[in-house]
């Protein structure tokens, strides 16, 4: 990430807690043209390859949280997304399983590998959300967990002797599962997203979408988008964080047409036209999970994994985490949080800190 010179921040600005747009360089670079007469090849473009090699060696973390009422297919969807059993399904028809009385947070980590690239994937499940008769403030344990991860990272960052690579347990992406009622969002959906969209990247998905016809799907999506807009809820990709025009046009299309993705998940394969596909077999037809005419699973997968994975991490680090950090430092009067940092009293962190490099 390019490190530009920071704009000077006053205390007032900091206390506003508005996440700053990425700082533009104060001294613009003079464009230098390539001398066509210069023969030869420098080799700067190999930096991409070098970065790739490094990434492959170190691997990277990705933490995804799933939130929604029980039975909406959260675990199945995550397993389908990552093509492995990364989430243990809570439902097994022959086992007795009780709905937990309060929202629990269960984080399970797996290392999956593809094309030489290792990913440490952590799936954070939230059983018990929205299942009780009284669901007042059931989002609080979730908000608490997310902030705790920010706090952990902050403590590590503020250390004198820092680890070379701070383990990143922060939630990069929160998939929120909307029940396919076909009517509107439920009051609980609104409340959850209102509280959490400022703290974590929320990607709303319409679960078990094989229960809606094409018209019903499109009508429902429109209603949901409108309701979210009216209530000031910004889901990922947030408009204010589009970096440039290219991003904006690409994201606009996704925001205004595709999202929320209407998905179907499955861990069973069936034979269709000579191919084995993931799907659901009913007496009236086979629903193919990866068929774009049937549902938008492929769109969600491409979005989360193939195009926006890195961006999800960046927005989490540069925006959500920074907001948290600024608030914590502000609350502490400009001092780093907590004591016991090797038992010494540190000089106070200046009130206008530079944005931390990645």
């Amino acid at each position: 990430m390019s490190k530009g010179l920071p704009e000077t921040r006053t205390d007032a600005a900091m206390s506003e807690l508005v996440p700053e747009p990425r700082p533009k360089p104060a001294v613009p670079m003079k464009p230098v043209g390539i001398n066509p007469n210069l023969l030869g090849y420098i080799g700067i473009d190999t930096i991409i390859e070098q970065m790739r090699k490094k990434t492959m060696k170190t691997g990277f973390d990705f933490n995804i949280m799933v939130v929604g009422q029980s039975g909406l297919g959260k675990s199945t969807l995550v397993n389908t997304l990552f093509k492995s059993q990364v989430s243990r399904k809570a439902s097994s028809w022959n086992r007795e399983e009780k709905i937990p009385k309060t929202v629990e947070i269960k984080a399970i980590g797996h290392v999956i590998e593809e094309g030489g690239v290792k990913m440490k994937l952590t799936v954070i499940d939230t059983p018990g959300f929205g299942d009780q008769i009284n669901n007042e403030r059931c989002w609080e344990p979730i908000e608490k967990y997310i902030n705790e991860q920010y706090e952990k990272f902050l403590k590590e960052e503020v250390n004198i002797a820092r680890k070379k690579r701070i383990p990143d347990t922060r939630v990069h992406c929160c998939l929120y599962f909307i029940s396919p009622t076909g009517h509107s969002l439920r009051p609980l959906d609104l409340e959850f997203m209102k509280h959490l969209s400022k703290v974590v990247n929320i990607i709303p998905v319409i679960a078990k979408a094989d229960t809606m016809t094409l018209e019903e799907k499109s009508e429902f999506k429109q209603r949901v988008r409108k309701e979210l807009e009216v209530n000031g809820i910004e889901f990922y990709p947030q408009k204010e964080f589009d970096e440039d025009l290219e991003d904006k046009t690409e994201n606009d299309k996704i925001r205004q047409e595709s999202m929320p993705f209407a998905v179907v998940g499955s861990d069973k394969e069936y034979q269709v036209n000579g191919k084995r596909v993931l799907g659901r077999k009913t007496p009236w037809g086979i629903i193919e999970v990866e068929n774009l005419n049937h549902c938008e699973f492929a769109l969600l997968r491409d979005f989360v994994i193939r195009t926006h994975l890195q961006d999800l991490k960046e927005v989490t680090h540069n925006i959500h985490y920074e907001t948290y950090r600024a608030k914590r430092l502000n609350d502490n009067g400009g001092l780093p949080p907590g004591e016991g940092l090797l038992g010494t009293v540190l000089p106070p962190v200046p009130a206008t800190p530079c944005p931390t490099a990645e």
Binding site: L72, I133, T211, E227, G285
Partner: protein
């Protein structure tokens, strides 16, 4: 002329003709979370368009809305028989985030329970009144309770509501939007729900046994139908012409069409047969003979209860408690005269009971004295 033939075998026909003239009325309640296809199913069952004028509120509006009771009436005529059907809806059910926040005794669905009881109460008053010629039966004869196909069985809300109403109304549990499920999932869900109903001791409407003299086919069909409870239904009022042999009512998806009236696709036919074609009358009878009588007995018993209390709680008895009437006051459309007559009746009953109490107290006090002596 045959001397043996008296002729009262024609009685059922006479009854039939009278009922046809009178017409039937039936009140059906539909309850369950919003978005489970309740309205579509009602329209499908009775081939009407009861919900044309319905406005679906937005989520932010539902945040503050409380549960309401809505009644819609429709007259259906078929084969010379008129049915006056009343459908009772409960919009707002299950919407509240913070249900039971202040007290577990005031859940959001209490108005539904009260509504059912109010209909009993109204009938009780009418029945005890002087003019009984034209009693309107507004009691709820059946409650179709919709269970979500997306859950893993009954949710805590379902259990709590069903326990609150199962002794007051015939419950027929139904799985809505059943086209979300594959056949194995449907079976497993039904099994789970049946187990939960048994565990929580919730009494649903029991379809009566068929007569022993029915033929085997009928018995088998009947057994199959009973096995498919809770009914997994799909509703639709749209006709799909997908190139099949004939147009069908169904839902058209890119991967196929769900046919509402296909028994391999869903239990709609079973539900319609059992609810409308064979058990409409039985539902009314059970409501009257079992549920209403239970309510009536409880009501009148609590009136008589002060005389049967034990010594320990006798101190609580005072003029105050004796005047408590379990029948809450309802603004009636009846004439003032009728109200006054009923009040007088009740007052006379109270006086009688108080006399009985006093006598008992006296005799017990005398007994004590003799014991002490």
């Amino acid at each position: 002329m045959d001397k043996e033939y008296v002729g009262f075998a024609a009685l059922p026909n006479q009854l039939h003709r009278k009922s046809v003239k009178k017409g039937f009325d039936f009140t059906l309640m539909v309850a369950g979370e919003s978005g489970l296809g309740k309205s579509t199913l009602i329209n499908s069952l009775f081939l009407t368009n009861l919900y044309e004028d319905r406005q679906i509120p937005e989520a932010s509006a539902r945040l503050t809305q409380t549960l309401t009771i809505e009644r819609r009436g429709v007259e259906i005529e078929e084969g010379g028989i008129k049915v006056k059907l009343t459908v009772v809806d409960t919009p707002g059910f299950g919407d509240s985030i913070s249900d039971c926040r202040h007290s577990p005794h005031t859940p959001s669905w209490l108005p539904v329970v009260r509504f059912i009881e109010e209909q009993f109460e109204q009938y009780l008053r009418d029945e005890s009144g002087l003019n009984r010629k034209n009693i309107q039966d507004s009691r709820v004869h059946c409650c179709l309770y919709f269970i979500s196909p997306f859950g893993r069985g009954l949710r805590p809300l379902d259990v709590a509501f069903l326990r609150a109403v199962h002794e007051k109304v015939n419950i027929i549990p139904v799985i809505g939007k059943a086209d979300a499920l594959m056949p194995k999932e449907t079976q497993a869900l039904k099994q789970k729900i049946r187990e939960q109903l048994k565990e929580e001791e919730i009494n649903i409407y029991q379809f009566p046994e068929c007569d022993s003299d029915e033929d085997e086919d009928f018995k088998r069909q009947d057994a199959e139908m009973k096995e498919s409870i809770p009914f997994a239904v799909v509703g639709s009022c749209e006709v799909v012409r997908d190139g099949g042999p004939r147009p069908v009512r169904g839902r058209h998806y890119s991967w196929g069409t769900v046919e509402v009236e296909n028994p391999h696709h869903c239990d709609f036919l079973n539900l319609r047969r059992m609810l409308v074609q064979t058990h409409l009358q039985d539902l009314k009878e059970v409501t009257h003979d079992l549920l209403y009588e239970g309510y009536r007995a409880r009501c009148l018993q609590s009136l008589a209860r002060p005389g049967a209390r034990d010594r320990a709680s006798r101190s609580k008895l005072s003029r105050q408690s004796a005047t408590e009437i379990p029948l809450p006051m309802l603004p009636l459309a009846d004439t003032e005269k009728l109200i006054r007559e009923k009040d007088e009746e009740l007052r006379r009953m109270q006086e009688m009971l108080e006399k009985m109490q006093a006598q008992m107290q006296l005799s017990q006090a005398q007994g004590e004295q003799s014991d002490a002596l």
